[in-house]
């Protein structure tokens, strides 16, 4: 049978490294196989035998885009193992740091990685030539997140100020207050961004996902909450392994996740968080979402660009709320006595639920580590999205079809990252 294979070597707007092969037979998508490189396995092995206190800094190195997410899941899991509770000012400061990462990561994805898909450009450089204002707006949004991360994280890349129990050093009140003005500007930019994303041409498609995210009783989830779904799941992070499993698939070295009971796929990330926690958004964020055409739930993955903008708006407002009443926590961390135990935590990385599980001995030495990143959880769902949506576009020329495939993958901002190079995309038509 004659085959036609299109190879794209420069799909640079997915964070990191991966490959996608779409197989088309008899006018239908027969298969979509996404292959990802996955660094967590290396880091899980690297952590064994190290002290529990090293987990936040070691795991932060997994991802240059979301180091805070890795630090937060690590500290919460370790605190679970050690039986300590962190509350009050330290808890607020953690939430503030996480807001910075959301603003930074979502800003990057909305403007530099995803927007060119909707406006018909190869990438951000080509878009910048025609729409420098858009790119500048994205840079300004991201910069506000950077500044917040630098003040709280202690340095510009790979924050080093986070420790199990709290922070090494509390940021000074005047330094934190100085973040107010940049964040107010970022909030205005975010509002403008929500309005702008609503003007984009977005395919009107939906899928019946099982949406999975954290849910907290009173706040939009970042650091804490129960793991819930729109199909009735409601568990603590400690029970994660009972309800989710990681499996090997032949086409990828990375593990893929699925629901253990039903063996079915599920979706984590902005769509899930938004749909399961709409009531905890600020009134401004809810109103902006409504004006942008979103209902209280969203199951159109192409609208994820709007949802991310709404989440940036929320993160700016939440950050401003925390900053307004910030007092330096003293001491900046609670005291810890090592003990043997197991600890589990999930937090909301910009891309979705990030699960960590550890076992430590009585000296605090790590015996085992398990890290399940959001992209491993979404990978089978992304393949299903391709199988579902691409059929409608199958008669498009290869170039246009390839573009649709790329956009469909990028809807979920896969953090193949932490990794190298490009997504190698093949379309195989018989």
């Amino acid at each position: 049978m004659p085959r036609k294979t299109i190879k794209v070597e420069n799909l640079a707007r997915v964070e990191g490294e991966g490959a996608l092969t779409v197989t088309i037979r008899d006018g239908k998508v027969r298969n979509a196989a996404l292959r990802l490189f996955e660094p967590p396995r290396f880091f899980e092995a690297f952590l064994r035998g190290r002290d529990f206190s090293e987990a936040p800094d070691v795991t932060a190195r997994i991802c240059g885009i979301c180091p805070v997410a890795y630090q937060m899941s690590a500290v919460h899991a370790m605190e679970d193992a050690l039986g300590i509770e962190v509350d009050g000012r330290i808890r607020e400061l953690r939430r503030l740091l996480y807001c910075g990462e959301w603003i930074e990561s979502h800003g990057l994805h909305i403007y530099m990685l995803h927007a060119p898909d909707f406006l018909g450009y190869e990438g951000a450089i080509e878009m910048a030539r025609d729409h420098p204002d858009l790119v500048q707006r994205g840079l300004a949004m991201k910069r506000a997140g950077n500044e917040l991360m630098t003040v709280l994280g202690g340095r510009e890349i790979h924050p080093i100020n986070v420790r199990v129990g709290g922070f090494y050093k509390a940021p000074r009140r005047r330094d934190v207050l100085a973040l107010s003005d940049p964040l107010k500007r970022a909030r205005d930019i975010a509002l403008e961004t929500v309005r702008w994303t609503a003007t984009l041409e977005i395919p009107d498609v939906h899928r019946d996902y099982e949406l999975v995210s954290l849910r907290h009783e009173s706040e939009y989830p970042l650091n804490e909450g129960r793991i819930v779904s729109n199909r009735g799941l409601d568990i603590a992070a400690r029970e994660y392994d009972t309800h989710f499993e990681e499996i090997h698939v032949p086409h990828s070295t990375a593990l893929q996740s699925r629901r253990r009971e039903t063996r079915s796929t599920y979706l984590v990330g902005p769509l899930a968080r938004y749909s399961l926690n709409y009531d905890h958004l600020t009134p401004t964020a809810r109103e902006a979402a409504r004006a942008a055409g979103l209902g209280p739930t969203c199951t159109n993955p192409y609208q994820s660009i709007i949802v991310r903008a709404v989440e940036v708006l929320y993160a700016c407002e939440e950050a401003l709320r925390i900053i307004a009443s910030y007092e330096e926590p003293s001491p900046p961390a609670v005291t810890i006595e090592p003990r043997a135990g197991s600890g589990y935590a999930a937090t909301e990385a910009p891309r979705g639920l990030l699960y960590h599980g550890y076992r430590i001995d009585r000296h605090g030495t790590i015996l085992s580590a398990q890290i399940v990143p959001p992209t491993a959880q979404n990978q089978p769902t992304i393949e299903e999205d391709l199988m579902t949506f691409i059929n409608d576009w199958i008669d498009l020329p290869d170039d246009a079809l390839r573009h649709r495939c790329e956009q469909t993958v990028r809807n979920h901002d896969p953090c193949i990252s932490c990794a190298t190079h490009f997504l190698d995309l093949r379309i195989d038509r018989a």
Partner: protein, 151 residues
Amino acid sequence: MTLVVIGIGHPDRGDDAVGRLVATRLRGRVPAAVTVVEEEGEATRLVDRLRGTASAILVDASLSGAAVGTIHRFDAANDPLPEGNLGMSTHGFGLAEAIGLARALGSLPQRCVIYAIEARSFDLGAALSAEVAAAADDVVERVVAEIRAGA
């Protein structure tokens, strides 16, 4: 005139660490007025670093097919970057995109030099290749000389 030196890479990814290593070694070897920073290579962060700077020297690893340890030098202010994986770092959205974005936005420094050291592998946890380590020494000296000559 402001001058910034940017070492780009990831410390855990084999030869990709070389840009950061060069930056580390340059601290203390260059005049106090020269800013030496390290970055992982994410494009928008690099664009921000280049903004408002008159002169920049960037050091990164490359995988272009040349012999391991080969030192490439590009004048990014005046010439287009070569196609391929030069200066791709560990990011798909990295140095090449940063230069392209800065150019499109009119914020590329008047003088912008890139040193790219040809890598063997970016494997997680791998040590620096001997050829790359040797090249790092050379690049440190060349950057010091270039700054001394009035870069």
